[in-house]
Symmetry: C2
Amino acid sequence: MTSPVPAGRTQPAPVTHRTHHLADGREAVFFADRGTPPVERVADRRPLGERAGHGQVRFDRLTGEWVAVAAHRQSRTHLPPADQCPLCPSAGGRESEIPAEDFAVVVLENRFPSLGPELGELPAPGPAGERELWGAASPAFGRCEVVVFTPDHRGSFAGLAPERARTVVEAWAQRTEALSAMTGIRHVFPFENRGEDIGVTLHHPHGQIYAYPYPAPHAARLAARSRAHRERTGRALMGEVLADESAAGDRMVLTGQHFSAYVPYAARWPLEVHLVPHRQVPDLAALTGAERDELAVVYQDLVQRVDRLYATPTPYIAAWHQTPVTTADREAGWLHLQLTSPRRAEDKLKFLAGSEAAMGAFVNDVTAERTAAGLREAAR
Amino acid sequence: MTSPVPAGRTQPAPVTHRTHHLADGREAVFFADRGTPPVERVADRRPLGERAGHGQVRFDRLTGEWVAVAAHRQSRTHLPPADQCPLCPSAGGRESEIPAEDFAVVVLENRFPSLGPELGELPAPGPAGERELWGAASPAFGRCEVVVFTPDHRGSFAGLAPERARTVVEAWAQRTEALSAMTGIRHVFPFENRGEDIGVTLHHPHGQIYAYPYPAPHAARLAARSRAHRERTGRALMGEVLADESAAGDRMVLTGQHFSAYVPYAARWPLEVHLVPHRQVPDLAALTGAERDELAVVYQDLVQRVDRLYATPTPYIAAWHQTPVTTADREAGWLHLQLTSPRRAEDKLKFLAGSEAAMGAFVNDVTAERTAAGLREAAR
């Protein structure tokens, strides 16, 4: 069925989507650019076997965190030649993951998911405490999705037509809403890994969404601090930081009507920038149509600047920090994008070695103010 | 002066050390193998300028963590040719970082430190809370040291003569004790990064020690959980895990008289192994002579197994988890080594992409049981 975006989010014309199924039962949600209809009908005729997935999650008593174990993923597709790309349209007799000759944006369940396909509730500790969670793994409940930005194998998010970038934003928002409502999902994380240097295994422009059966550890910690700050002061922690960064000014990169971007004072990476809505919202699904419109523009502006910093495309991780799916976290949290790159010079990468990887103690070789100046100068 | 190891730690013969100074005032502590005298006299005649260092630490209000900013490190030595190695002995008119023609183990202050050389107390939040810590950086108090394992430019810790490995253990222990007593030091972290794949910038076999003016974030979290567990149960968290892993058995790698090694149930990396003392001790300085003797043997055994897993040397981070330098943490914590490698096949590395890097949510493609079986089979 075709679903317009929820009422109350007025837009020039709705971005519509239609959900189809692949040969092995996986969902593929086709989004159309505004003013165009979504792909009406598809037929995936591939002889796909049983669905992969069925990993485990294990509880780590030392840290109190869950770890996913996905032994089935060792054999996943790794940098296939362009003519075998699974994210290109199906054409000329070759059948890819997307059973259509043309499309705008498609979100499909990952064929080699770390989490899922089963959904369910993780066990909770009983009278004997967390020790009960140890040694008996749970199925890796959850869902991993791939967000295909364009049928075009080349390019990147930065180079999409503006209307297409707007469709990608809509896809993230719609998936956040849909995944948050699924059984056992506690946290939805849209992100994009770009560049072989950070381990990207498919070149076709795409992002991903992980829907976890637990709040991801970093999100859980930020949520706990945000709740505590709200209880103590009545205010939102992220809102205070946004106000203070705006007032300080020397780390600001861009300021829009609904969003601002800055390099945070205590940036951990040689390139790190936060894109933050001016209004307190828990996730992308809570943005208005006008906010989504501006987000598509400023996010493209930001990654275009990142691409202008060096002669070659800069590898990055663009991570959407959304609040966990619980009322208290939604009330205290604040959506933001954290874009980071390990690149510290044209030919040098920052590695996470002992201090960062084992101890979480970061050392940044570049000041936030210098990074911000570089991103301001990179404006078109 | 020559200092024997503290009384009460009886050994066949003490490992002795002697502290000298480099041309710019940095300390270089020379350790001798047992039964041999330390280097008596050195003269560093290099025309070294002022000491580098003088970075900042900045407080991150979102996470409550400190981040070091070391802009001066961008120009540090990067993979020099063997004949310009700063960690080789000074010889034939070439003056390296070590002003001696021969030595056993030398610990020297890092010439390009992330922390230090100043020592001092970080500011604490005042009446207005953590916001006060934001926007006004503190000097990067602390100390970074390099532990040179051998005068021989080639090889690795695994290949040291057993007596030399014992001297390295003694150096770690002595430095832990000395650094823990310095003004403002809250946490001492000895580690070894091995392999260009994880960003090593010098091939000469060496480790490092970071002495932080704050408990490193991962250590702080483990310490908080260990304190809470002790308060609730009266027992040590790590001791319970060690007992449960020993009882389960299928992830055990080796069992000595004083130490055991196992792949933890919820391992995050394709190769991860913990080496744990059977007795609750907060840090390496608290080990007895007999424990240090066995540690040198089992640690070498472990890294030798790691090196037999593949045809080429496996990159790894060997991280000593010591408790923060506070009484409550020392009472609840438990020393252990965490050795991890990103290698998931001969030619494949695990990258920390979106889920791990931005969210701290790990996905491991290899089961702990399979990793443990591989390390058991790799016994000589």
